[in-house]
């Protein structure tokens, strides 16, 4: 598949920003990290931004032209506001967890965080600490899973990689309390942050990760996130994501997951914010017997645009994947779903299912769906399904005949439609919080 790109138009500014990073303390980073940044920056200047022009099937429906043209600045370090926990609570899945790490404008907020360093159960630390204390571990995995050589936004993030979150769960450890990673943008116009997260779940460990993105300021800021998750043999990771950027924001997020033998990964993603959102979720199912469940809901209205690209690469035999994405579209919004299931040569006995369902509430929205297979092994079971349509008239009538008004009936049915996704969240309080967020969104329609 070819990737056609447009060159970086305001290259001088990117060079200045890259040099500025070193002056802002990044020069003290270890040599390998500085080299990684340099390689990634070079690659970014070569790749440029992807274009929606003919032939680039990965970006066919999403135009990042406006984003490419804007000269985003790093938020000034003096601009980090002093926040109390109360003001960020809406983005914390209820805020109950004691394992949390918070970044504001890309900088680690010690006051809002509650990190952990328990060698036998959990390490949760900002890179600023982890690079010295867990240097080998970080070096072994960082940048190895998210491909900066081919993906422009990963290259850009990696070029500006300085702080971020490390989650390490040692062999056999079971972390009961979920781990929250929160990235907030509090500086509005034309600023950019590059949130970075690294999760390493060692052999037979278990952990639940909450990843949350939110905006505290209006304006066209840009969050360009990269998350790498490594599951060693037998590990089990549940990963719940919520994106509630502010109305004018650009949100581009790449999540790269590598699954070893017998590991299992579950992801439930909810996208509600941002003017333009693009999520890339890449799961490399690399070990025999590994399985993943990737679910997601996207709720868009006004002129919002959301694009989910999910690639599941079955590189080993006897692996399974289940994927269900659902979209609710209102106003003049546009939602894109592009799911690819790849079954590599020799990966026999793969069992993969993929579904995308869209509910179109208004006359002016657009849903573009592309569920694809690329299959190179014969003894496999792969199926996909897609559908688009409005609320069922018979169901509406049924509810009205039970006394609900139009608005109530529509809201109830829409909630039910999204429920298939939220119901797959195993933790009760997280599920309840997610469902409340969905209800809140629906009430505003």
């Amino acid at each position: 598949m070819t990737t056609q790109n447009i060159p970086v138009s305001n290259l001088d500014q990117y060079i200045a920003a890259f040099e500025g990073l070193e002056q802002n303390g990044a020069a003290q980073d270890p040599a390998w990290l500085r080299q990684l940044r340099l390689d990634a920056f070079h690659r970014f200047t070569e790749l440029g931004f992807p274009t929606a022009r003919r032939g680039n099937e990965e970006w066919k429906y999403t135009d990042v032209g406006p984003l490419a043209k804007t000269a985003f600045q790093s938020p000034a370090s003096t601009a980090v506001p002093v926040l109390d926990f109360q003001s960020v609570q809406p983005f914390t899945y209820g805020g109950a967890t004691g394992n949390r790490i918070v970044f504001v404008n890309g900088a680690y907020s010690e006051s809002l965080s509650s990190v952990a360093r328990h060698p036998e159960s959990l390490t949760l630390a900002p890179f600023s600490q982890a690079l010295s204390l867990d240097g080998d571990l970080v070096q072994r995995h960082l940048g190895k899973n998210a491909d900066y050589k081919e993906q422009a936004f990963v290259a850009l993030n990696t070029a500006f990689l300085h702080d971020g979150a490390l989650v390490h769960v040692p062999e056999g450890a079971v972390v009961e309390e979920p781990v929250l990673i929160l990235h907030l943008s509090a500086d509005g116009k034309d600023t950019v942050t590059h949130p970075r997260t690294l999760v390493v779940a060692a052999k037979d460990s278990k952990v639940t990760i909450l990843e949350s993105y939110g905006g505290l300021a209006d304006g066209a800021y840009f969050a360009n996130a990269v998350t790498e998750i490594i599951l060693e043999p037998g590990a089990e990771v549940r990963h719940y994501r919520m994106q509630r950027q502010s109305e004018q924001a650009y949100h581009v997020a790449t999540t790269s997951v590598t699954l070893s033998e017998g590991s299992s990964y579950t992801s439930v993603a909810l996208d509600m914010g941002g003017k333009l959102t693009r999520n890339n979720l890449n799961a490399l199912v690399a070990g025999e017997g590994a399985s993943c469940v990737l679910n997601g809901a996207y709720l868009v209205t006004g002129r919002q645009h959301v694009d989910n690209q999910v690639i599941i690469d079955h590189a080993s035999p006897h692996t399974t994947s289940r994927e269900l994405y659902k979209g609710v579209l209102d106003g003049r919004s546009q939602a894109v779903f592009h799911g690819s299931i790849i079954v590599q040569r020799g990966a026999q006995k793969v069992d993969a299912k993929q579904e995308d369902r869209n509910l179109l509430l208004s006359d002016h929205c657009e849903a573009d769906t592309r569920p694809a297979f690329w299959i190179y092994a014969d003894d496999v079971k792969c199926a996909h399904g897609a559908s688009s349509g409005k609320l069922d008239d018979d169901a509406l009538f049924y509810l009205k005949s039970r006394g609900l008004d139009e608005q109530e009936a529509r809201s109830l049915l829409t909630k039910g439609f999204v429920h298939d996704i939220t119901a797959t969240i195993a933790h009760e309080s997280i599920r309840a919080h997610t469902e409340a967020a969905v209800s809140g969104w629906l009430e505003k329609l």
Partner: protein, 483 residues
């Protein structure tokens, strides 16, 4: 019990049956593509000025695309670059026959070998045949009988001379010369093809058939077919293709345009059996074809059924523009690839009118080292209220060295639309084979039986004779590649 894999490995290559070369005198242009060649072709065919101008515009557009290297790159196929200056763009049997008796006996023999009879007996069987040999139409049967009902069926060249207004009105109206790279090339150099017009209120009493044959070496075939079904009319049209075995790759870049007016219906069936190349992937036809229909009138219907077993590479998306309210588009396809064949085929359904409906059933079979891709697009435009689409695209893999791919695009801009897309992959299971074996059926017959069952939904849409041929063709092609 022998497993299917073992059978694949034991198998010897099945010979291509239609690979003979016919020794006839032909008139050809030198290889190459420029304005002179296009003018020569146009003059040879005694075309009116407007058509020459249209060709020249197409040529200029094509050369611009070629210069900018804007060749279609999105298909999941790979092949070395084609030198468009090496191709002979016109090759024709020297003597143009006036009636069946004058047709070169070698050509008639060729068609006999292909199992196509041009004689009266066949006509009684209810098939009118137009045969295109290399670039020109050599014989059209049954023409006078059809003419009595006002049906025009014959070579494109004849139609340009005899019905210039009709040709001018519809030519390029569905596939403009700017549509895509190969459509531009075709518009510049197309040599012949079939033309068909069904007048208002007429139900064509017989299936109309065109057989295409590439014979001469180094030639490309660029035929153009135009079928118009006027108000309240119906026609069933059949198309078959074959080519000799040659080591070189030959280019076939055809364009087919269909138009249905109010309440009209066109049923278009294809069996494509161009030479696929040898067991090592040498030679074979590059089949880069643009087929599209437009349901212009209300309540009209266009149905494509294709069985694709041939060609080294197939690049083809028979499509329907559903413009008229309540119009219907259908696509039924079986694509079988084996050896080193590559197929990237599917359809586009563009819903523009209200209450438009489309159905897509695609069955891809991939064996040996072949790559088989379904690529489809269903598009619902903002005014297409109550549009409906049902899509099913299934793949069957035979052996562990082939590839089967599915890449549909579903674009919805109207919330009253209802679209359902389902796809799955499978293989002939050991348990199915054992079940057949237990009833006394051999492994080889069991494979054929199960694969035929897989294709049933599509075969059942073919006219009876074609269905029989399709079943046989599938068996012949699978012989030696599966049990």
């Amino acid at each position: 019990m022998t497993t299917s894999n073992e059978v694949v490995q034991q198998a010897a290559a099945q010979e291509y049956k239609y690979g003979f070369i016919t020794d006839i005198e032909a008139e050809s242009t030198p290889p190459g593509l420029n304005e002179d060649i296009v003018r020569w072709i146009s003059a040879k065919k005694e075309e009116p000025e407007w058509l020459l101008e249209w060709r020249l515009r197409a040529l200029r557009h094509f050369l611009t695309l070629l210069e900018k290297e804007q060749l279609p790159a999105w298909a999941n196929v790979s092949y070395p670059p084609i030198n468009f200056q090496d191709i002979i763009y016109y090759s024709a049997p020297k003597s143009r026959p006036e009636s069946l008796e004058e047709v070169d006996p070698e050509i008639l023999e060729t068609y006999r070998k292909l199992g196509i009879s041009l004689d009266e007996q066949k006509l009684l069987a209810g098939v009118a045949v137009d045969a295109v040999f290399d670039s020109v139409s050599v014989a059209t049967t049954f023409k006078t009988e059809l003419a009595k009902q006002g049906i025009i069926f014959g070579s494109f060249s004849d139609a340009v001379r005899e019905h210039p207004d009709l040709v001018r009105k519809y030519l390029g109206s569905v596939v403009p010369y700017t549509d895509n790279f190969y459509a531009s090339l075709n518009a510049a150099v197309f040599t012949d093809g079939s033309f068909c017009y069904i007048p208002k209120g007429v139900r064509c009493p017989v299936d109309l058939t065109t057989y295409f044959r590439i014979n001469a070496a180094g030639t490309g075939q660029f035929e153009r077919t135009l079928i118009i079904a006027d108000d309240d009319s119906y026609v069933s049209y059949l198309e078959g293709c074959s080519a000799p075995m040659r080591d070189e790759n030959q280019l076939h870049a055809a364009v087919v345009e269909l138009v249905t007016e109010e309440n009209a219906e066109i049923k278009y069936s294809t069996i494509q059996n161009w030479y696929p190349g040898d067991a090592n992937g040498k030679g074979g036809i590059y089949n880069f074809v643009t087929k599209r229909g437009r349901c212009e009138g209300r309540n009209s219907k266009i149905s494509w059924t294709q069985v694709e077993t041939g060609s080294a590479i197939t690049w083809k998306y028979p499509s329907v523009i559903l413009k008229g309210d309540n119009s219907i588009g259908e696509f039924y396809s079986v694509a079988l690839t084996k050896g080193h064949q590559q197929a990237d085929t599917g359809t586009k359904m563009v819903h523009i009118g209200k209450n438009t409906r489309s159905t897509i059933i695609s069955k891809g079979i991939s064996a040996e080292h072949a790559e088989n891709t379904y690529r489809g697009q269903v598009k619902v435009m903002p005014n297409a209220d109550n549009a409906r689409n049902i899509t099913r695209c299934d793949s069957l893999l035979i052996g562990d060295q082939c590839g089967a791919h599915t890449t549909p695009y579903v674009e919805v801009r109207n919330n009253s639309a209802k679209l359902e897309h389902e796809a799955y992959t499978s293989r002939v299971s050991e348990d199915q084979l054992f079940y057949c074996n237990q009833r006394g059926i051999s492994l080889e017959d069991a494979q054929a039986l199960v694969i035929n069952g897989f294709c049933k939904e599509v075969f059942s849409k073919l006219p009876f004779e074609f269905a029989v041929e399709a079943t046989r063709l599938l068996e012949v092609n699978l012989e030696g590649t599966v049990g």
